[in-house]
Amino acid sequence: MKAVEVKGLIKRFGDFKALRGCSFNVDEGEVFGLIGPNGAGKTTTLRIIATLLRPTSGSVKVFGLDVEKRADEVRRMVSYLPEEAGAYRNLSGEEYLRFIASFYSEDVEAMVREGKRISGLRERLRDRIKTYSRGMVRRLLLARTLMTSPRLAILDEPTSGLDVIYAYEVRRLIKGYAEERGITILLSSHNMLEVEYLCDRVALIDGGVIIEEGSPGELREHYGAENLEEVFMEATGRG
């Protein structure tokens, strides 16, 4: 079964057309990257899959369920990490994990333990989130996204705004969790090196349409490029 099926997806915001017939598939168990420059339509696509936005036309299915018609069921299978997500500043890290866990599991404490393990924040989890650095907040958010063991984790720019060390740690965390649990991960990034490191397959998006799709190796080979950055430039005619 396909984890995600996107067909002819169009999304308008008033006169502005953010997606112009976007189509791609994500297989179950793979780490799939949606890559493109700012304003290409990555976030809009992920928000539609996460049931936050409704498509203007086209269809989006998650594990065979239509995201518009069966949004409640889709939300039970999906965990979404927005690009600019924050956490409740006046709660402690542990309280925040417990708050999220209580919507997913009977065994809240077991899920919180898992969240604590993924976050690696240890005793700092007892402190209020407002005392955390940006990197610590991102780790906490990633922990809450993955601790629920979703069938599909949607990560929008997971390392956005992080310094080299935190970004490295977060990438390692995602890769480790995907290998360990075999869950499907759909992520977006404009960092081509990150995508190359993390993803089994990628789709290049530009101007609201998918212009290329395949594994990083296949794409490099097809365009005779050294890395995905060069692939992107070639594929979009900017090279």
């Binding site: 915001f13 809009t44 039970r76 979404y80 997500a85 924050g86 006046n90 999220i100 209580s102 009977e106």
Partner: protein, 435 residues
Amino acid sequence: MANPLLTIVSKEVKELLRDPKILLGIIVMPLILFPAMGSAIGVSQRAVSRAVRRMAIAVYNEDGGLASQEIIEFLSKDNEIYIIEAENLEEALKRFMEAESSILLYIPEGYSERMASGERCMVRIYVHLRRLNMAETGKASSVEQLLMIYGEECSLRRIRRILKEAGEELQPEAVRRPISISYASILKGVVLDVPPGAIFGIIMSQNIMLPMMIMMMNIFAIQMAATSIALEKEQKTLETLMTLPIGKITILAGKLCGSILIAIAGAVSYMIGFSYYMRSTLGFIPQLTIETLSEAGLRLSPLGLTLLGAIIFLTLLLSLALSLSIAVFAEDVRSAQSLVGLIYIPIMMPSIILMFTDVDMLPNAMRWLMLIIPYTHTVIASKAIFLGRYTPVLVAVAYMLVFTVITLYITTRIFSTERIITARVRRWRIRGHEG
């Protein structure tokens, strides 16, 4: 799994109460500020009464006769008297203005002669308003009262002498005031040995306190709800919240309940602080009137209490729903609070107008305008409940219920659409997010 509604409510209460601005501004400040203000006013009032108790009174006695000496002696029993020696009133006033005293009693020439011949005498009080404070006015009325008492004594003395000369055995007090009036009021069929002024005092206090309490509670609730939703946007937590496996209605209900709890805590704190302030300054609800309240049947019956609870609950729910519907369009707490300021107008207008009048006494156009505003019905109902008139209360409950259901429906529609994520106010224009 834990109850999702309780989880959201608990998170809301924690988040709001741990925000120092909310904890201090809405719950702690009224408990500190009002008693502090009350104490400050109490201290100044005590200072005024001390100043009035033993006054320095300047006297310019142009008369110099026996009767004028008598009045000066009467005043000197409890006050300090300074006799001003001058050639004329103009000079006396000049000296008075240079002196410390702020009260001058002027006894004109011929006073004693007129008193002796049984004619009406005139004295004049000059008040030097140096500081324009309450003590100066208090002193003037105290001197006036002392002179009235002295006048009463003079009058009775004269009546006694006349009666003796006429050989009449009548009571001088009865001759002076042949009719003595005592008041009773009939309220809701009960005869009370209480002057109507006292009952009016109670009603007035309710007319002011109740709308004010409801108004404050609504404003707190609106602030809470606006802050609650705007915090989600400001902290970038709304998107995550909206993708959790819980219904949008549960999220909305959780926010409503959390805000109601904090608003009630804020209103209770406000009323405790405010009633302390009123007691310590104006003696707003003296013990006598509280006892009279019960005697007069103006205390709430169980049905009245239930209806009052229902109307306040509906009012709060309406305010919260309106606040959430408006605040979802704001990007941060500051813009949310300025946006929901629009709701303060229909809340404050009926509360303030109906403190002083009834809706029926307003001009036609104004009356209908007021009746369209749902908050008017809250004030009308809360007054009617105290008078035991339940029909207007039921009408108000029905109107509020319809209005609240419609508003809640609109709010749930807004929560169910993507506008909650995309809409934002930029310079008072609502736009969709583009990206």
